[in-house]
């Protein structure tokens, strides 16, 4: 198993009175609340943490989120390019520039090919679907987001792998008649591709495409269901079996010297769930296309109707909006998060044990993504966990080789 570290560079320094009063902490909070000097310090610290990972042999991930306190990385390609050049040893995953929000996937392919050149082939590409408030902040029609996502991936892949261009693309969402990117990517045929998604239909598509499938904070049931959909879709399509190397899981992770320290400091990571997920109804339950029409009775009624049979749809069937998942996460406590496989925290032995319990529950995975710093966690606290994890936990995880899963 390999490990990858990430920090979303959240900006928690907004008065609680303001975030409590706001109906959404994403998309709509004015940026006068963001002190650029504090933002600069945060980037400085976190980039140093990434470079510490490089020294200590842990891969790194640059994510992207827009217009909120949950993350200041709205411009993923800029952080990706810094990491591609400034790291020297580990792999760099962009997870990722949000392709369905970008008007021109060919430009994304150029950025990613350049990142692969800068990293001399130490580069992975991740695709994230986006949604919620980012539809507003990026001015993207939410009902077609998933269609745009897959078409963008198709076009980016073709741009990265076509070497006898130019070629023409006139799709439903993207039109580009003269595609011929320079440089081509360092890796042949292209950097490994990841996709972050959890619903059954897109999990199946990730499986058919043979992409590395990452689940973020989904807990064991949701993660296993997505991995199963991935494997079953491959089997149904007559494609070869894959190994655990195709599967990844992202959790909040903190390692302390002692169990108490690990849990106490690790609990600071819950800020991400407790504070930064808050979004207004127009950005979640009423976002067009986020929930299927059949879910409407549960979305619109403020009082349950006794005979409302159709309201009994739930996240487990993959028909509830992501907002339903978010609602569960906002109020989560550390013991709950640990019990649900969302937070792995404690001393090194304990964290290793928690990871392996989760590994067994979901049928194995080859990559662990650590959300290692969030909320009010300090640079010193984050650095300490990186050192302990890479020294005490990572060597044990590396002994776990890929296993074929069918």
């Amino acid at each position: 198993m390999d490990a990858w570290w990430q920090c979303e560079i959240p900006y928690p320094f907004v008065d609680k009175a303001i975030t409590d009063a706001a109906d959404s902490v994403r998309a709509s909070l004015p940026n006068q609340l963001c002190d650029p000097r504090i933002a600069a310090t945060l980037f400085d610290e976190v980039l140093d943490e990434f470079l510490l990972c490089d020294d200590l042999g842990m891969n790194v991930i640059a994510i992207e989120h827009h217009a909120g306190i949950n993350s200041l990385i709205g411009a993923n390609p800029m952080v990706t390019s810094l990491l591609a050049r400034q790291t020297r040893n580990v792999r760099v995953l962009s997870l990722g520039t949000l392709v369905s929000l970008r008007p021109d996937p060919v430009r994304v392919a150029e950025e990613y090919a350049t990142a692969d050149i800068l990293a001399k082939g130490r580069f992975d590409i991740g695709f994230v679907k986006s949604g919620g408030t980012e539809m507003a902040s990026s001015n993207i029609n939410p009902v077609n987001n998933e269609e745009r996502y897959w078409e963008a991936i198709d076009l980016i892949k073709k741009a990265l792998t076509t070497h006898d261009g130019p070629f023409s693309w006139e799709g439903k969402h993207f039109s580009h008649r003269h595609v011929n990117i320079w440089p081509r990517p360092y890796q042949d045929p292209h950097p490994p591709m990841w996709a972050a998604t959890g619903d059954p239909s897109s999990s199946a598509e990730v499986g058919r495409r043979g992409m590395r499938h990452v689940l973020v904070l989904r807990g064991p049931e949701g993660t296993k269901r997505a991995y199963d959909a991935h494997r079953q879709a491959r089997a149904a399509a007559g494609l070869p079996k894959v190994t655990t190397d195709n599967f990844a899981y992202a959790a909040l992770v903190y390692v302390g010297d002692t169990e108490d320290e690990g849990i106490e400091v690790g609990s600071k990571l819950l800020w991400f769930l407790n504070t930064s997920l808050k979004s207004a109804p127009q950005f979640n339950k009423f976002l067009p296309g986020a929930a299927p029409p059949v879910a409407a009775p549960g979305l619109y009624r403020t009082q349950p109707k006794p005979d409302a049979g159709l309201a009994l749809v739930d996240a487990e069937k993959g028909v509830a909006p992501a907002s339903r998942n978010a609602e569960k996460l906002i109020s989560i406590t550390a013991p709950e998060a640990m019990a649900q496989g969302i937070l792995f925290a404690g001393n090194p032995d304990s964290v290793y044990r928690q990871i392996m319990q989760f590994y067994d529950k979901v049928g194995g995975f080859g990559h662990l993504a650590l959300v290692g710093r969030s909320g009010y966690m300090t640079h010193a606290e984050s650095t300490k966990s990186i050192r302990l994890f890479t020294k005490e936990v990572l060597p044990r995880l590396k002994e776990i080789g890929p296993v074929e899963v069918g």
Binding site: A136, N141, V143, G289, Y300, R301, T302, L310
Partner: protein
């Protein structure tokens, strides 16, 4: 009614001059009082847009271009020489698109709290962004009296499911450019049929000043404000609304 392979729900009632109603954010409610008042004086034909009500929506049918072509064919298919075309809100945009093309079946045009054009400067939105605004605020801006807003707790599952499908379909058609065609204002002066523009005085989805400007671009159009009504005067003031419309027929 099957038109161009699309199974469309069409509400029909009444007798008299033919009047085609193109609905706004929700399909026409067959129980609405204004409909029954109007049906005493006119023959009403009220289709639901593809993806609204019980109308099917073909795959990739999601543009104003699709809707405009569909309704051009719809008017052609009606067994009348001429009709009065009435467009409410989003449906007003569609009606205006048809009228600037001088569709031969349109005898008269009525636009009710319509959307469809850009009036103000690039940094002043004319039309409330109903997708990106809190639903409580959208309700306040929609109704003169918010007590007239639908009570979701009292609605059937079927009605709520339909409502959410309508919402998704509306987003497909009107998300971007938001609720308007940037070129339509340039063409409105081509409308060559008698036109009446009706507006709820309290509408804050699109304000009466927008309606006045809209009417000002259509040669000879008159503009009437209906008091104590918001974005849907046909619901909040059905009697006054039908009086204004009937006088125009």
């Amino acid at each position: 009614m099957i038109l161009h392979g699309i199974d469309m729900e069409v509400t029909r009632l009444g007798a008299g001059q033919p009047v085609v109603l193109l609905h706004g954010f929700q399909q026409i409610d067959p129980e609405a009082r204004f409909l029954h008042l109007l049906s005493q004086r006119a023959e009403i034909i009220a289709p639901s847009h593809p993806g609204f009500g019980r109308s099917a929506r073909p795959k990739d049918f999601e543009t104003i271009y699709d809707l405009t072509n569909l309704y051009a064919a719809f008017l052609n298919a009606l067994p009348f020489e001429k009709v009065t075309l009435v467009g409410f809100s989003f449906g007003g945009w569609l009606a205006a698109e048809l009228a600037v093309r001088s569709h031969h079946k349109i005898a008269r045009l009525a636009l009710v709290d319509t959307v469809g054009i850009k009036i103000s400067d690039r940094e002043t939105p004319d039309i409330t962004d109903i997708f990106n605004t809190h639903p409580d605020e959208v309700t306040r801006r929609t109704w003169h009296d918010p007590a007239n807003a639908p009570d979701f707790n009292a609605m059937s599952d079927e009605a709520l499911i339909m409502r959410h499908r309508n919402w998704e379909s509306l987003s497909r058609y009107a998300w971007h450019p938001y609720m308007h065609n940037p070129r339509l204002a340039f063409w409105l002066p081509r409308i060559d049929v008698p036109t009446r523009v009706l507006w709820g005085a309290s509408d804050r989805i699109v304000r009466p000043s927008y309606g006045q400007a809209f009417a000002g671009l259509i040669p000879g159009a008159d503009f009437t404000v209906i008091d104590q009504a918001g974005h849907q005067p046909e619901i909040e003031q059905p009697d006054v609304f039908v009086d204004h419309l009937s006088a125009f027929l």
